[in-house]
C-alpha cells in the first residue's frame, strides 16, 4: 500500500475512534466511500497514472477500499450493539391487559355437562313452559288431587288452574302428546316448590330424561343411569337403586350415591306408568319406557363441595368467579 493510502487509513482510524453516533458514522462513510468520496477520487486519479505504475497503484487502492469498508462496518456493528443497551427489557411480569375473565354459573356448567353425557346416549333436548296447568303438571302424570302424593309437591299457584311447574315432567307430557314413539328426550329447566330452608330452595333446576320405545325395560334404565353417574363424576361411584314411589312411574326407584361414607339421594326414576302413556294416547301394550329426574343443584353441590344452597342464587362475584376455569 502506498504511503498516501496508509496515511488515509490512519486518518480514518482516528475519525472512527472519536465517532460515537451512527449519524456521524454515516457521514464518515460517505466522506470516504461515497459517490464523490475520497476513494472515488483516488480511482479517478488512477486513470491518469502511467501504465507502468497503474498495476501497483490499482492493487494498493483495492486493499485500501477493503480495509476502509472493514473498518467502517466494524464500527457500525460496535455502535449498533451499543445502541441495543439503550432499549429497556420488557418486564414480562407486568399484568396483561383487560384479562378479567368471567365465569359460567356452576348450575349452567352442570346442566351442560349432563346434557353432553345424555346427548351422547341419544337424548334430544326439549324445553317447556314454567307456568303450567294442573293437567300437565299433575293429572296427566297420574297425580290426583286427593292423593297424599300431592304433598310431595308444595305448589305455587298463580291462578286457580295455573301453577309454577313443580318438576320438568310436565314437558314429558307435552312432548309425548305431539310426538310418536320412539321418543328419547331430556328437558332441562327451572322448577318451583313452596319450600325454603338451607337444603330447599323455592326455585331449583331439574333435568328430566324420558325414553319410550318398544322393548324398553328396567335394565335400560339402570344401564343409562349407572353410566351417566360414572361419567358425570369421572369415576366409579358406589351407588344403589332402591324402590321408591312416584305416581307417574311403576316400578319406581331412587338412586343413592355413597359420598364420604353417607348415602345421598341423587335422582328419582322408574318405568313410565301405563296410565301416563294412555293419558297421552300412546299404546301402552306396544310401548314401554323409563323416565328419570336429576336435581342439578344437588349434583353441583356434590361435585364442587358446596354446602350452602343459597350461594347459587346470591350471585356473589367472589363465589361465581371461582368457576372461571370451567367451561
Amino acid at each position: 500500500m502506498s504511503k498516501k493510502h496508509t496515511s488515509l487509513i490512519s486518518e480514518l482510524r482516528g475519525k472512527l475512534k472519536t465517532c460515537d453516533s451512527s449519524h456521524e458514522l454515516s457521514n464518515i462513510k460517505s466522506y470516504y466511500l461515497g459517490k464523490n468520496g475520497i476513494l472515488a477520487d483516488e480511482f479517478i486519479k488512477l486513470k491518469s497514472v502511467k501504465l507502468s505504475e497503474k498495476k501497483e497503484l490499482g492493487m494498493s487502492l483495492n486493499i485500501l477500499k477493503n480495509e476502509m469498508q472493514d473498518l467502517i462496518s466494524q464500527k457500525l456493528n460496535l455502535l449498533s450493539s451499543e445502541n441495543d443497551k439503550d432499549i429497556k427489557a420488557t418486564d414480562v411480569t407486568l399484568p396483561g391487559k383487560n384479562i378479567s375473565l368471567g365465569s359460567r354459573h356452576p348450575i349452567a356448567i352442570t346442566i351442560n355437562d349432563i346434557m353432553d353425557i345424555l346427548g351422547s346416549y341419544g337424548f334430544t333436548s326439549v324445553e317447556g313452559l314454567e307456568i303450567e296447568d294442573e293437567f300437565h303438571n299433575f293429572e296427566a302424570l297420574n297425580i290426583s288431587d286427593n292423593h297424599p302424593a300431592r304433598d310431595m309437591h308444595d305448589t305455587f299457584y298463580v291462578s286457580d288452574n295455573k301453577l309454577l311447574r313443580t318438576h320438568t315432567s310436565s314437558v314429558q307430557i307435552r312432548s309425548m302428546m305431539v310426538a310418536e314413539p320412539p321418543l328419547k328426550i331430556m328437558t332441562p329447566g327451572k322448577v318451583y316448590r313452596c319450600d325454603s330452608d338451607p337444603t330447599h330452595s323455592p326455585m331449583f333446576h331439574q333435568i328430566e330424561g324420558l325414553h319410550i320405545d318398544e322393548n324398553i325395560n328396567f335394565g335400560h334404565l339402570k344401564g343409562t343411569l349407572i353410566h351417566f353417574i360414572k361419567e358425570f363424576f369421572g369415576k366409579e361411584m358406589q351407588i344403589r337403586f332402591r324402590p321408591s314411589y312416584f305416581p307417574f312411574t311403576e316400578p319406581s326407584a331412587e338412586i343413592d350415591i355413597k359420598f364420604k361414607g353417607k348415602w345421598l339421594e341423587v335422582l328419582g326414576c322408574g318405568m313410565v306408568h301405563p296410565n301416563v302413556l294412555s293419558n297421552v294416547n300412546i299404546d301402552n301394550k306396544k310401548y314401554t319406557g323409563f323416565a328419570f329426574g336429576l336435581g342439578v343443584e344437588r349434583l353441583t353441590m356434590l361435585r364442587h363441595s358446596i354446602t350452602d344452597l343459597r350461594m347459587f342464587y346470591d350471585n356473589d362475584i367472589s363465589f361465581l368467579s371461582q368457576f372461571k376455569d370451567l367451561k
Binding site: 399484568p95 384479562i99 378479567s100 375473565l101 368471567g102 359460567r104 354459573h105 351442560n112 346434557m115 346427548g119 346416549y121 341419544g122 334430544t124 333436548s125 313452559l129 314454567e130 286427593n146 297424599p148 302424593a149 310431595m152 305455587f156 299457584y157 298463580v158 295455573k162 328419547k184 331430556m186 327451572k190 313452596c194 319450600d195 325454603s196 323455592p202 326455585m203 325395560n217 328396567f218 335394565g219 335400560h220 339402570k222 344401564g223 349407572i226 353410566h227 344403589r240 337403586f241 332402591r242 321408591s244 314411589y245 311403576e250 316400578p251 319406581s252 331412587e254 318405568m271 301405563p274 314401554t288 342464587y313 350471585n315 356473589d316 362475584i317 367472589s318 361465581l320 372461571k324 367451561k327
Partner: protein
C-alpha cells in the same frame, strides 16, 4: 316412622344383624333414615313413601320383610267379639265412614299403671304415654295400623253419630285449640255436640282421664280423601289422620278393637262390654279386586327372567292370593294394599323383593343429534360474554311484592301463595334481577361488575294469557379491568356495552329510544337485527340508581333471544390483491345528527371502490364551532378488484362524498 327392632323380632325372629337388616329395609323401598341403639333395642326410623300406608305398623313392616325370611306373618290371637243387642250407634254417614266399630266397656280402672313393655315401646316409637286406655289404643295402632279413639262414656251424651258438621259448630280439640267447623267437616257427635273431627282429633270434653270408668272405643274406616281434605284445610296432622288419609286396612277395624279388649283384659277384669259394628258391602274400591298378569310381563319390564316359583311365593308372603288361570297369574289384592291396581304394580312388588341391584344394566345408545340449536346458541353467547369478562348469574324468577309496580302496567303475574313477600311476583324483566345482584355485590365491595343472565320473563297479555319470554340480559359497572395497571384502567361506558353486544350478534343497529321504564332517556337505545327489534340497552334512570343505591355508573341490555335471526349462511366473495387506500374527511355538523345515519346514507349511496367507511373521531369545541355543532371525522377505505387506484380517481370520489354529506346533512368542511 320409628319402629322398635325388638318388637319386630316378635314376628320375624331371625332378623339379620342391624346394619344388614337396615340395608334390607332400604332395598325393599322402606328407606331407613337412621338406626340408633337405645338400651337393649334398636330404633329404626323409616321415611315412608305415601303409597305404603300398609307399612305404618309393626305387622305391616314384618309382612313386607317376610319374603326375605320365609316367614308368614300372622296377627296375634285375641277375643272374639259378637254384635251386642244394646246399640250404641245412631246415624253413621256411610260416605264418610264405610265401617264403624264401637266397643263400650263398663267399669274400668284407668288409674292402673301402663305395663312397662307398652310404655317402652310407645316411647321407642316416639309416642308419649297418657294413661292406660289411651296407651293401649296407641300400642295397638302401632302394632296393626288401626288408629282408634276412646270417649269417656259418662261425658258422652247418648249414641255415636258420624255426620258433617253444621254451620257454626265448634270443637275444643285435644291440642288445646278451638276449631270452627264447616259443613264439609266430618265429625263424630253425641246427641248434643261435636266430640271429634272424624279420624283426626278428639274433643277435650269427652276425653278419657284417670278417673274415667266407662268408655266408648271407636275403631273405624274413614274415607281417605275426606280425611286428607279436612286435615289439610285445618293444617292438622295427627298420627290418626296421617294413617287414615293414606289408607288404613278397611278390614281390620273389628280385629283391632278386639285386640284392645284382649290387652285390657290381661290387666283387669272386665265384665260388661257391648260391641256394635256397621259396615257397608263395598267398603273400599280395591277390596276384592283382582289383577291379572302374564309371567312374561316380568321379564319384559325388568329385562331379567324371574322364576314363576319366586313370583308366586313372594306374592303369597305379601298377602296376595295368586292362582294360575290358564297361562296367567290371577290374584286378589289384599285389603291393606291401596296401591295395587294394575299388572305393573305386581311387577314392582316382585322386583322389590328380588332386589333392584340384581337387575342387569344395559346401555342403549342411539345416534340422534341432541342439544337443540337454540341451547347451543345460548351456550356460545354465554361463552363469548364470559371471555369478555362477564360472570353468569342465576336469580329467582320472583321479585318482592310491589317492586315492579312503578315500571309496568297491570301485566304482572302474582303468586297466590308466596313463600314470603319478597318472592311474590314473577319478574317482567331480567334487568331488575341484575340490578339487585349488582347492588348485592356493591355492598360486598365488588365495584367492578360485569354480569349476564339467561332466563325467562313472565307477563299476562291483555287477554290474561300467560307469556313466557326467553331473555339474555347483561349489566356492566366499574372499570375495564381491575387487573390492568392503574394508568390503563378506564371507566366502562355505554360503548363498552355496545361493543360486547356487537361481538355477540351479527348485523346489529342501535336507534335512540325512550320506551324503557328502567332506562334514562338520555342514554337508551333500541337494538335492531336487520329490521327487527330484538332488545334494548342503556343507562338506568336516576331514580333506579337511588332505588338500588348504586354509586357507580351502570349500563345494561336485554335481548329477546327468540327474536334473533339465526340464519347464518355466509358466502365467500373474491379478495382483491390490489392496494387499499385510506382517506379521512372531517366535517362540522349539527350535533343532533346521528353518526350512524351518515354512515348508513353513505353506504346506501354506494360510492365507487369504497369498501369500508367508519366514524373515526368526534370532537366538540363550543368556542370555535358553537354549541349545536360537532366535528366529526370519517375514515374511508378504497380498493379496486381490477387494478391499482390512482389518486385522481380517489380524489373525485372524495369530492362526491363531501358534497353528498354537505347536501344531505348540511355539513361544512372543517378548516
Amino acid at each position: 316412622m320409628k319402629i322398635s327392632l325388638n318388637w319386630l323380632k316378635e314376628y320375624i325372629p331371625n332378623i339379620k344383624k342391624n346394619n344388614i337388616f337396615v340395608n334390607e329395609l332400604t332395598a325393599l323401598g322402606l328407606e331407613v333414615s337412621s338406626a340408633k341403639r337405645i338400651k337393649k333395642d334398636t330404633i329404626i326410623d323409616i321415611d315412608m313413601t305415601p303409597n305404603r300406608a300398609d307399612c305404618l305398623s309393626i305387622i305391616g313392616i314384618a309382612r313386607d320383610v317376610s319374603p326375605l325370611y320365609n316367614k308368614i306373618v300372622k296377627y296375634p290371637e285375641c277375643v272374639k267379639l259378637n254384635q251386642s243387642k244394646t246399640n250404641n250407634l245412631s246415624n253413621i254417614n256411610k260416605s264418610i265412614c264405610p265401617a264403624y266399630s264401637a266397643l263400650v266397656i263398663m267399669g274400668i280402672d284407668n288409674k292402673i299403671k301402663t305395663p312397662t313393655y307398652i310404655r317402652t315401646r310407645l316411647d321407642a316409637c316416639g309416642i308419649s304415654c297418657i294413661n292406660f286406655i289411651v296407651d293401649v289404643l296407641n300400642y295397638v295402632m302401632l302394632e296393626v295400623g288401626q288408629p282408634m279413639h276412646a270417649f269417656d262414656k259418662d261425658k258422652f251424651d247418648g249414641k255415636v253419630c258420624v255426620r258433617y258438621a253444621k254451620k257454626n259448630e265448634k270443637i275444643n280439640a285435644l291440642d288445646g285449640e278451638e276449631y270452627s267447623l264447616s259443613t264439609e267437616t266430618p265429625v263424630i257427635t253425641d246427641n248434643k255436640s261435636v266430640q271429634a273431627i272424624a279420624g283426626i282429633i278428639g274433643s277435650t270434653q269427652s276425653s278419657v282421664n284417670l278417673k274415667t270408668k266407662n268408655i266408648i272405643i271407636e275403631s273405624a274406616f274413614f274415607t281417605p280423601s275426606i280425611i286428607r281434605k279436612t286435615a289439610k284445610s285445618y293444617r292438622l296432622q295427627t298420627d290418626a289422620s296421617y294413617r287414615f288419609e293414606r289408607g288404613v286396612d278397611p278390614e281390620i277395624n273389628k280385629y283391632a278393637i278386639a285386640r284392645v279388649l284382649s290387652i285390657i283384659k290381661n290387666h283387669m277384669s272386665i265384665n260388661k262390654y257391648y260391641f256394635n259394628n256397621i259396615k257397608i258391602k263395598k267398603i273400599a274400591n280395591h277390596v276384592g279386586k283382582t289383577v291379572k298378569i302374564h309371567p312374561s310381563e316380568f321379564s319384559q319390564l325388568l329385562g331379567t327372567d324371574i322364576q314363576l316359583k319366586f313370583i308366586i311365593k313372594t306374592l303369597k308372603y305379601l298377602g296376595f292370593k295368586p292362582k294360575m288361570n290358564k297361562s296367567f297369574i290371577q290374584t286378589t289384592v289384599p285389603s291393606h294394599r291401596f296401591d295395587i291396581n294394575i299388572s305393573h304394580d305386581l311387577v314392582e312388588e316382585v322386583a322389590r323383593i328380588y332386589g333392584y341391584d340384581n337387575f342387569k344394566p344395559i346401555l342403549k345408545v342411539d345416534s340422534i343429534s341432541y342439544k337443540s340449536s337454540k341451547l347451543n346458541k345460548i351456550n356460545s353467547y354465554s361463552n363469548i360474554l364470559t371471555s369478555r369478562g362477564y360472570n353468569e348469574t342465576i336469580s329467582f324468577s320472583f321479585l318482592p311484592k310491589g317492586s315492579q309496580k312503578k315500571y309496568s302496567e297491570s301485566n304482572i303475574i302474582e303468586i297466590m301463595n308466596p313463600i314470603s313477600s319478597d318472592k311474590s311476583e314473577m319478574r317482567l324483566t331480567l334487568i331488575h334481577s341484575l340490578l339487585r345482584t349488582c347492588q348485592y355485590n356493591h355492598s360486598r365491595q365488588h365495584y367492578n361488575v360485569k354480569l349476564f343472565e339467561y332466563g325467562k320473563t313472565y307477563k299476562k297479555s291483555s287477554k290474561s294469557k300467560i307469556i313466557e319470554q326467553n331473555i339474555l340480559a347483561g349489566l356492566i359497572s366499574g372499570i375495564n379491568s381491575e387487573l390492568n395497571i392503574k394508568s390503563e384502567q378506564k371507566d366502562l361506558t355505554f360503548f363498552d356495552l355496545k361493543g360486547d353486544l356487537i361481538s355477540l350478534f351479527p348485523n346489529l343497529s342501535f336507534k335512540p329510544s325512550i320506551d324503557s321504564s328502567y332506562l334514562d332517556k338520555s342514554c337508551q337505545a333500541n337494538i335492531y337485527q336487520d329490521k327487527n327489534i330484538i332488545g334494548y340497552c342503556g343507562e338506568p334512570k336516576k331514580e333506579i340508581y337511588n332505588l338500588f343505591d348504586l354509586k357507580n355508573k351502570v349500563f345494561c341490555f336485554e335481548i329477546m333471544t327468540d327474536k334473533l335471526n339465526n340464519e347464518e349462511s355466509i358466502k365467500y366473495s373474491n379478495i382483491s390483491i390490489f392496494p387499499k387506500i385510506k382517506r379521512d374527511l372531517t366535517v362540522l355538523i349539527d350535533d343532533k345528527i346521528l353518526g350512524q345515519d351518515i354512515i348508513d346514507a353513505i353506504e346506501r349511496k354506494s360510492f365507487n371502490y369504497m369498501i369500508n367507511s367508519k366514524i373515526s373521531d368526534i370532537f366538540y369545541n363550543e368556542a370555535e364551532f358553537g354549541p349545536s355543532m360537532k366535528s366529526m371525522s370519517f375514515e374511508f377505505i378504497f380498493q379496486d378488484k381490477k387494478g391499482t387506484l390512482t389518486d385522481n380517481t380517489i380524489n373525485s370520489e372524495m369530492d362526491k362524498i363531501f358534497s353528498f354529506i354537505k347536501q344531505s346533512f348540511k355539513a361544512k368542511i372543517r378548516t
